[in-house]
């Protein structure tokens, strides 16, 4: 284990303890299970996002209530996949599109995750307005966050 990773580990551990936040490591003992879990969460995000996208781009009538529900679903999902990238989830498996560089740039990966979560939160807030002109830029910001992380961290 490199020094920086050790420090990172200690920092993370102490942060968890100090917050008395009993966030457990993920429950997986099999790498394939971790991969499947995070893929399911990401694909649900995409399914929900696809419906919002159709509305934001005019391929489907805008339904404010439905849009809000989808945005909330993505918001909740935006907290789901990431711990499955740790523990046994760090092992590169055949079915995974995650590139090994994720674990080399772990802190960058984490900061992208929190940017993404922030963007989704802003989308949820905008969705409350029921005004597509307010929603669209927030929606595009989320999409850009997806893309930026896929470039470099997800196999084509």
């Amino acid at each position: 284990m490199t020094l920086s990773r050790t420090l990172c580990f200690i920092a993370t551990l102490s942060l968890c303890l100090s917050l008395l936040n009993t966030a457990q490591a993920n429950p997986f003992t099999d790498a394939e299970d971790a991969v499947k879990y995070r893929q399911q969460a990401l694909s649900m995000m995409r399914d929900n996002f696809g419906i919002m996208s159709a509305m934001a781009r005019g391929d489907r009538d805008y339904d404010a209530e439905q849009f809000k529900q989808r945005a909330k679903a993505v918001y909740h999902l935006s907290y789901i996949p990431w711990d499955a990238f740790q523990g046994v989830g760090e092992r590169v498996t055949e079915n995974s599109d995650a590139l090994p560089v994720i674990w080399e740039n772990w802190s960058d990966f984490e900061s992208r995750i929190s940017n993404f979560q922030q963007a989704v939160q802003e989308l949820v807030e905008a969705a409350d307005s029921g005004n597509m002109r307010e929603i669209r830029p927030k929606f595009m910001t989320v999409a850009r966050n997806c893309q930026q992380c896929h470039q470099g961290y997800r196999a084509d």
Binding site: F49, G50, S53, R57, M140, A143, R144, Q147, H150, D156
Partner: protein, 210 residues
Amino acid sequence: MKVQVWDGFIRGFHWLLLVTFAGLWYTGGNIDFIDQHELLGLFMLALLLTRIMWGFVGSESARFSTFVKGPVSVWRYLRDKSATTPLTHNPIGAWSVIALLTLLLAQALTGLFTDDAIFYQGPLASWVDNDVNRLLTRYHKQIIDGILILVAIHIVAIFVYRIRGTALTWTMVSGKRQTSEPLAQPKLVHGAWGYGLLAVNCLWIYLWLG
């Protein structure tokens, strides 16, 4: 003497192709311009199909049967470039045209099946399953490199011709070719027929995929 080698459609096609390609290059990979990219891509498809049709029914100089030659002719041309004065594309340029049209067509067609895993699906993405979407999306990102290489070769070749005294760019504007040797006037089809064909192709492609 001056010979009219390119009809109005071929000239317009060439410059429309350039502008459309530039637009596609600019909008490609940018999530904010995906809708414009798709629209330009459909227009590109219409342009390419029309050029291919024109290669069978258009002016003599634009027909594939006029300028596409087998390897023996290519070899002969390479050994002695002065032996023949090609009516239109020379045997090497002809294969470059075929290669470029093929790659551009492959690029336009794979684009129809792309899926960015975020929020965009090409108009025909649902025809195939996810693995195929994935593969074609990857090809769509790779073929562009081949196209850019061919475009670079094309531009370098034009500079080389210019240095040696042949102004190809102007020929593609006026359609007229300056030649010292007598050259038979190719049978030209009026360019308006080409634009009519282009309009028809744009229409059905847009109605179907737009």
